[in-house]
Structure formats: structure tokens, C-alpha cells
Symmetry: D2
Subunit: 345 residues, 4 copies
């Protein structure tokens, strides 16, 4: 039994962390940190926890929290963790960060896309990018894990095998993503009101979305040279789920079988990646689960592959992935507490 | 470890049963029965089960199934179970019926409201109405449990204590219920198309809905004389969840405290009923869970109490309740496999 | 051609006013008033007006606006109009107020339910309650019209004939209303975020909602004594539309035919009330239109009538009604600019 | 005043035709044709027409209808019109076909993608492809107009100027489209049930969708050689609206200004195309209107242009476009009956 603290527990990712950790057999949550709601009963924010979580929201002082917790999850605004992290904290507690602060090896990239000065550069070298399917071996020994972004997880998992196996021309990659609204967070903004989101679809952050360089960093690791992508996210009227539709030109002679073999080789024994063949992925079949479902079609007529991948942005795209990282860091079975089947219907 | 069979496994309640039973530590599902889909892989109907359930849908021959299962869940059309149930089947397997066939003590009432001749009247006396909060003691010994309806569960739990404790005038009860669309089932009907349901609300079955006599039967058990209610269900554009808003005139002198005490007395130690005081119940805080949340307001100005209760129609209103009954029938802890926290947000 | 000004033009009711007035053949909008957005192009708030409305949002100084407009629509917070209205303004321009400031004959009632001191009591006697179906004759001569609330319009139209004709016992009236979220306005509040509203239903303002005394005031005019009602609004996951389900005990001997005759007598020649008989009203069939659809069922078994009425809260419940009032005040055909058929599907 | 007949009047496109034609000042609808509902009051299918349309649904015999109507709108299944059209009919009435039967100059393409033998090939040469922005001059003299598909209209309008002006490399075009569910029609299919569509997104018809060759045929007319595209439609949980996100590599040296100038040159005086510059198009701002809104971003970093275009699939993508064609064919102002502002919010 380990003790966990959640910083930013009243946001949507924080609430999913609270939920998953509550149901995890080896974890006790010792702090529901929330700057804005400190002192209010946590269950008064989310009635789902009524009679189950009786604690009030606590403060967010990391040094204090490091004394009482074995692991700290930070679901905090960009720049926050980098500004408060310290050697003292990391000596006492492991940190799993759901913000972007430690996702980039190159802080110049971070600063250029996030327009924030990085205040914790000394910890960048030791931070591990916590996409388990790519970096599993580095996670158990890490003190600081940078949990990947939601779009990023879905995009990287979709394309990594094809880039690595040289089946596609990386310079032709176009990623068109569709996301539910929980990805926009719980802030009180007019743009996220029901009447602005419902019965509507729009692109946003076109050519400027901050998950772009994160996707590029990781796809470049596939060894086919520096990868640059077009990434366009869209907001659609649902709460949860991301669907990535990725397009790329296949190299001469590449077949449907080659593509299938590439996915099989990389993911056949992955517990949380499911391969659908030519069946289009649907977000409802991953809703509430930690799976990333991937399907693909080779369109010979135009010489492109179309990859379709779905995940729950709050689970595999945030809290579930974070728990998967925690499992690896503390020696629990990787799937512990994460074997939920998607809600149906 | 017991063996369970699901008849009607491809309907929405059947799918929830499949999901809950898959995750239940003491159950192995041995049959996913579906007349219409026999032979097709179950996971091809609901992609949520991909890589988890590899069996095809099986047939629905109850006699055959009774040989291989310890418990049979029937999520079948009204009249079906009554027409095929037999002593032989009940000697071999316990049956938990999600249809209305064995909910009524008086088959005349059933036949009048359902317009179906009851073909299994000999089993009516032994059937137990499986609302655990009212009939917990009778369930363990039962061979045949009639799982309550979704509206019914929510309505009865809302009002039973107040009727029993004589706090309201039963002849003034008005129940206005709002339901998500999964309650209408997975049949291919124009009325349930997205474009007919979305951005719409309507009442249906006004004065004729079949859950009415079921509510009346159980509230009459509260001992305040024969209870007759106005019950009006509404369809609203969501998938899951029922909210019941019940109105009744309070008797002279009844206070907010009396009402609170009545709920406390009956439900304080119930594992799946949560009392919210004057806080309005919200369906999202029970989505995916087995809870029924109940709040109330005494409106002295008009001399009425307004009770608001929420549950997930597919869980506490169907599959979860059925598993709760199964737990009681087989001596498992009543809450086993049912301790999910509602999805948030 | 008259000149109209909208105060509060960037709210949802204001935007509908902008839309309806733009399409009205006898109106030119001369001011899109918005305190918070003054100076910004109106079409930058609502892209629907792109290339059509090129003006920026203007200020909200009523005295200045009265110089340039023949009619002023105020879609402003409670208390605002009462605090700025003056004889000078009313001498120059007619005012149609969408707030509650002038809806009550008795300002004590207003102050008790709204917790606001009324600062324009001298204008209360001349204000006309602008529900055309009840007060048509008083509207043409009015300088100040109080446009009714959305729930109120739907509730009063549902029940007025039955109270007036003595068919129901007024003390048994229970009104259960369901509303889309646009009724909550465009303010940036967490409660109205997509992820808080979607896949959810809840009651709010139980026993305290401010539309209650407005309903009571008007139903009392029906001449059956002082009417007191239970009124409970619910928020459901749609944008537009209100459905009222009203319950009342019928008097001894009252038949379905009596009820139908009562509705016919009052509404047969009303241009914007449609009678559905026993067919349940659906909000989608009034979406975008100025109709109020009313259906009813007499449930002899329990001695109650169930009335179901639907309207679009932003049209017949706000902007459309306001235009209907304007038409009457300026001598245009009452239906001018309001003959839209609901969007289908 | 002309007389119009609608064949397939109970489908969603048919209902929008009924609505727009009812509100059109120069049209009288003389037939609401529906094979499945013949004899039933049209308003009993769509309550929106209650008290307005009192006629029953009529039959679909084109020869009979041609006697009574000046124009016939056919919103019928693929292959139907081609199998019944005749010289006699076209001599008596003009036909505007909302199916794909006469959209292709090359019937081989039609037969290959639709898997239907074309039974009216003799009328293909005279049929005009009714995308007014491309073929305005040919429409007034046509007897038979093939109304374009919904995805098609949005895709062609998005890309035509850029192809024509040689700003993009046509072989790099990728079109990712998102559609509301009304595009799937009113057929009773499980896939279109609320519970299957809501809270879900999926691609469908990947590499095989029938609107692909239609887009290619028209873009090829732009004169930059034969155009082949990747087209992938997605179903999202809303009723109405299509958003097209189109990607293409820009040619060396092409700037944001070049792209803007290209759109301006082609659409500046179009009544129903609105140019948004770098502002992303949103479907809610065209909901219920006949506009197609187009925005774009030149992403220099990756050398691509991203075009975003929105329209209402039932209006500009079907019924509105058909009325626009009718206006041109009968000499009415092109915008008559089509000047609706989108519903807000």
C-alpha cells in the first residue's frame, strides 16, 4: 500500500486520478490538493465521491506533501511544476507530472511553443517521457515521469510502428484529431459552455497546437530522421474520447499485410493497445477504459494509409496512463487497477 | 466461481450484465445468448469487449443452458420467460429475470397492463421481487428473482420510507420521471434515432406506462393502504440515467427533520443508497455506478415534499441490481463487483 | 420601418432578438448594446451574423438610445431597468423588458423572491404583462411591456383555461418543467460547462425558483381564487426548449371532452398556440419557432389531468414573444416576422 | 407562383425541402410524396408542420405528378430516378434530383462506386451538376439538375479556387470531413440510434465513400489535371452540419495573401459563401442557413494549407441548394427564401 497525493484534484484529469486511485488495491490517497477549493469537502465538488471520500480538499505545498506521500501526481497548469520542483522533493517522493513541463528533451522547443520560461531545467535530463509502450524500461527507475498529452499518446501510438518500419514517408504525415470537451478542462470559459459546444464542430490551434512538437519529438525517435507533422485538433460535442485520423503516403510496394505486420510486431503483447485491422476505431468502445484502439486502411488508389485510433482522453490520455506509470515505478503489475471495460452502450 | 449465462446478451441491459459479470471476481460467463446474433463473435457487436470476450453469441435454449450454468439472467422481451420456464430448469439453475414476467403477485394486473397472457402462473408464488432494499431476506433462498424495473426502483426507493412512516398522503403522489434513451433498448426504431431524440424532450406512455402498477404494488406494501400514483416518464437526450422527481402532500406538522429521519432510518446502512439531504440528485454522479442517490426538499409554502432520486438505469435499474441479487443468492458479499465510482466528469 | 435597439445584445436572448429583428420586414436595428463587448464587431461574437451585421457593439446608455430608437428591448440583469428607467425615456421610446423588473403588480412579491430593492416603482402601474394570449388588448397602448419569463409563458398557457373554466382544483397544481441550457444564459459558469450539463439531469431552485410567483399571479387572474403552485425546473442536456408537464386533480365529472373544449375555447384562433389533443408535446417541433404546443391526457384512474406544453425558450419564451409584443405596440400584423417553421429534424 | 412536388418528403432532406418551400413566397407545394407513409397526414410525421400543412402524404408516381407540378424534387434512393425518368416527364416538369443518379458525366464511375446499373443513361448528357457557384450559367436552361452531395459541396467549394489558381499540389489533397447524423437519413438502423451515435466519433466508408469521385470530377474541372483525393468522412454526435478540414501542400512561394486572394476572386460576390480568413469555420454558425463558411491557415512550417469549411448538410448540402437551383431555373432571385440567419446559440 502506497500513499498518493493529487495536486489539481478538482480538475477533470485530477478527478479521474481520484477515481482510479480510490479503486486501486495498492493505493491510499492522502491528499486531494486544490488551490481554489482548499477546505471544501472533495465530494461536494464531485458528488460521485459522496460517502466514499470524506476528506476536504487540501493545499498544494509540494514540500509538505512530499513528507506524507510516496507519489505525487501533478495535474497543474503549464509551468507550475517546473517552478516548484526541487531535489528535496524528489528525494522523498516520486513525481508523475500530467503537465507538459518535463516532456521535452529540448527546453527551447518547450519555451517556443508554450511561451513560458522553463524554471526547472536541471531536472529535464532525468525526466522520463512516460509513454509506457515506448519507454517502459526507463520508467521503473525514474523519480520524475512526464505523462504524455492526450492527443500525443493517440498520435504517437498510431504512427510509431509505420515510421520505425519505414512503411510511410514521414514528411507526408497529416494528423486530424477530434476530441471531447473534457480535454479543455474545467475552467469557466464561455467557449466551453454547453450552448457553445453542443451541435458544433470546429478546429482550433491550427498550426500552433502545443502537442505538435511532442508528437514530432517522439516520432523522430523511430529512427527515420526528423519528423514534422501537420496536426489539427477539433472540438466535438462529447465529453470524453479522442479519435485520431492519420494520413501518410505509403512507400512503393507497401501492402495492407506489411502494415498489419508492423502493428502486430510492436503491439501484439501490449496490454492496453488493441488492433482492429480495417475496422474503424470508435471512441465509445474505449470510454472509461485504458485502451488505445487502432485500425487502418491502405488506400491503394491514392497510395496512402489511413490510421484511426481512439482512446479516452482522461484515462489512457491522462489519469490511466499516469497510474500505468505508477504501477511500473512501484513494481505493481502494470495493469493493476486499470482493467475496466468501456461503458456500454 | 460460479457459471453464469446471459439470455438477451446483445441488448443494452445484457451488455451491462456482460460487462459487470466479466469484472466480477466470482463469476465466469459461459453463454452470451442472442437469438438474432447467434454465431457472431460477441465482441463484434460491442467493440468494448475486443480481446477480452472471444466467444461467439450462443443460442437461447433455456433447458440446454440450465445444464451448463448456475445462474441464468434473462434480459428478454415481456412474456418470453413465463412461456419457457419450467420446474426442470429451476431445479438446475437459479434464474434472475430482468423482464416484468414475475414482478407481479397478481397476474391479472400483469395481463391488464402488459396485454399478454401469463403462461407461467404456477411460478408466480415463489418468485421474489428483487429489490434488495425491501426484500433482502427473501432473496437468498429464491430460485426465481424478478429484477425490478428501472423507473420502479428509483420511484419506490424515493417514496417507500415516507409512506411507511406516514409522513405523506399517498393519494397525492405524483411521480415525474426523466430517462436516458438506453432504457428504450437497442431495437431499430425511428423513434430512437439520434436525430429524433437529440435536442428533444417528450413524455410518453402517459397514464399507461407499465411501471405504474409495479410502483403501486410495492408502495402498498408500506402499509398505508392501497397506493395509486400518477406516473409520467419522459425521454431526454442522454444515454444513461433516470431522475425521478416525486411530489406528495405532507401531513399536518411534518417537518424537514421528520423526512430526513425517515430516510436515515431506512437507508443509513444501505450500501447502495446515498442520502443527499436538500441537495438535488444528479444522474451524472451515479453514471456507471450501482448507487441510488436521494435528495428532498420540504416546501412548507405549499405543503408538499419534493423528492429527487437518481440512478443509472442500466446498473442499479437493471444489470447492477441483478448482480446484487446474484450476490445475495450465492452467498457472496452483496457489494462484490459493484463498487464502481461514477464516471467523472 | 421602425428603429430598434437591443440592450444586452450578446446574451442568448439578445442574439435571438438580433436575429428575429434582422429578418423582420419593418425593423431596422440601430444599436447592438453590450456593456462587456462595446466596440467589438457584433458578428465577431456570433459568426452567424458575419457579412450581415457589420456594426460594432454599442454602449447601453438608455437616455442616449431613446433618442435614436423607437423601441428598446432590454435583455438585462434583474434590477437594471428599474434603476435607470425614466419618464424622459418612456416619452421618447417604447420599452420591452425581458427581465422581471416590471412583471409583478406587487413589488413586495418581486422584492421577496428576487432579493432586490425595486428602484422604479412609479412605473409599475403602467407596465403591461406582455403575454399576448392573456393581455392582448392592453399591449397596443403600452409604453412599457414586461415580457414574461420562459417557464412562466409555458406554464400559464398550459393551465389558464382549465383554471378559468373551473375544471381543476387549483390547490393541487404541480408543475414539473424541463429546460435546455440556453435558459441559463451565456455567463462563464462552471455549472453550465458542456461537461457538467451533458449526460446529466437535475432539478434546481426547488421551492425557490423566481418564476413561481409570476405563474401564480397570472393564474390567479383566471378568477378561481388565489392560486399557489409547486414549480420545479430541471436542466437537461439540450440547448433550446422547455417542456412543462403539469398535473392537477380534475373536479368530479370532468371529462376529456370538457378539457378539450376549454382549450379550444381559449386558443382556437390564437396564431401561436397549437393544440395537440392527447399527443405529447415535443420541444423539437417548436425549436426555432414561436409556437407553444399543448397536449393533455385525462387520467380517470387517478382523477388527474396531465398537461404537456412545449415552446422554444428563446423564441416564444423570450425574443419571439417580445417581437409579438412589438408588433402589437406598433400596429404591425401580430405574426409578422414570426412565421418560422421549427427546424426539422 | 409555381407548383412543386417533393418525392421522398418524409426523409430528413425531404422535410427540409417541405419547410423551405412552405416559407418560399413563390412556391406552392402540391404533393408530399412518400411511398411508406402514403395517406397519413404529413404533419403526423413531423409535428413542426401541425396546423400548417394539412395534406396527407401522396404517392410517388412521377408521370402523374408531372401533370400537376412545375418542378419535382426527388429525394429518393440511389438508382430510383434513373429508372423512372422519361422524356414525357421532362417535357412537363423540371426535375431537381437530390440523389446521385445524374451527378456523373461518366456513368462508369457511377456504376463502379454505387454498384448500381444506370438505367437512364440517355439523360446524362443534358443533366446539369447543380453547384451554383460553379455552374450558375448552365442551370437556368436545364430540365434536369443533379443537386450535389453534402460532403461534395463543402469539399469542392473549399478547394476549387486553390486548384484553379495553381496554389496547391492537387496530388497531396487530403479531405477529412465530420458530419452530423441527419446525413445518414431517417432509416431505422441500429447504427443511427441515439445510444450508438451519442458520445462517439468514428470514421466510415474509408477509401470507399461515394462522394469521393464526385469531388474528383468537379475539382478536375479546375483545369489542373485529373485530381485524386483522400476523402474520409466521420460521424459525430450532432444532428446537422458538416465540417471539412482539407489539407494540401502549397507550391513553392505561395503565401497567405495568395490564398486569400484566390478565395476573394472566386467568392467575393457569392451570396452564400462567406470567407473567414484565418478564423476556423464552425458548423453552429451555419445551422439552419444556406451559407458555406470557409476559413484557412497557411502553415509555412510544414508547407501546407489547412482549409476549414462548414455548411448545414440539409440546407446548403441538400434542400437549400435545391431551392437555389429552383430559383435559377424559374427566374426568381437566387437568394429568395434562403436568407435565414443561423440559429443562435
Amino acid at each position: 500500500m502506497i500513499r498518493a497525493a493529487i495536486i489539481g484534484a478538482t480538475g477533470y484529469a485530477g478527478a479521474q486520478l481520484a477515481r482510479l486511485l480510490y479503486m486501486h488495491p495498492e493505493v491510499q490517497v492522502v491528499r486531494y490538493g486544490s488551490r481554489s477549493q482548499e477546505g471544501k469537502p472533495y465530494a461536494s465538488i464531485y458528488g460521485a465521491f459522496r460517502d466514499l471520500v470524506t476528506e476536504p480538499c487540501g493545499g498544494e505545498d509540494l514540500s509538505e506533501i512530499a513528507e506524507e506521500a510516496d507519489v505525487i501526481f501533478t495535474a497543474t497548469p503549464q509551468g507550475y511544476l517546473a517552478s516548484v520542483i526541487s531535489e528535496e522533493i524528489l528525494e522523498k517522493a516520486k513525481v508523475i507530472d500530467l503537465s507538459a513541463d518535463f516532456r521535452f528533451h529540448d527546453t527551447d522547443v518547450y519555451e517556443a511553443w508554450y511561451k513560458i520560461e522553463h524554471q526547472g531545467k536541471q531536472f529535464v535530463p532525468e525526466a522520463v517521457y512516460g509513454l509506457c509502450e515506448l519507454h517502459r524500461s526507463e520508467i521503473p527507475g525514474a523519480r520524475l515521469v512526464a505523462n504524455p498529452g492526450c492527443y500525443t499518446t493517440c498520435s504517437i501510438l498510431s504512427l510509431f510502428p509505420l515510421v520505425k518500419d519505414g512503411l510511410i514517408r514521414p514528411e507526408t504525415i497529416v494528423i486530424d484529431a477530434k476530441s471531447g470537451t473534457s480535454g479543455a478542462g474545467r475552467g469557466a470559459k464561455v467557449d466551453n459552455l454547453f450552448c457553445e459546444v453542443n451541435e458544433n464542430v470546429k478546429a482550433y490551434g491550427v498550426a500552433t497546437h502545443r502537442h505538435t512538437p511532442e508528437i514530432e519529438q517522439e516520432l523522430t525517435l523511430a529512427g527515420a530522421g526528423e519528423v514534422t507533422v501537420s496536426f489539427t485538433p477539433h472540438l466535438i460535442p462529447m465529453q470524453r474520447g479522442i479519435l485520431v485520423t492519420a494520413y501518410a503516403n505509403i512507400k512503393e510496394g507497401v501492402t495492407e499485410e506489411d502494415v498489419a505486420a508492423s502493428y502486430q510486431a510492436m503491439y501484439a503483447s501490449e496490454p492496453f493497445v488493441r488492433l482492429l485491422g480495417s475496422s474503424p476505431a470508435q471512441t465509445r468502445f474505449v470510454y472509461g477504459s485504458n485502451y488505445c484502439d487502432i485500425g487502418w486502411v491502405v488506400d491503394k488508389r491514392v497510395g496512402r494509409v489511413v490510421v484511426m485510433a481512439a482512446l479516452d482522453n482522461l484515462i489512457k490520455g491522462a489519469a490511466g496512463q499516469a497510474v500505468q506509470n505508477m504501477n511500473l515505478m512501484f513494481g505493481f503489475p502494470e495493469t493493476m487497477g486499470l482493467e475496466m471495460i468501456a461503458e456500454v452502450p
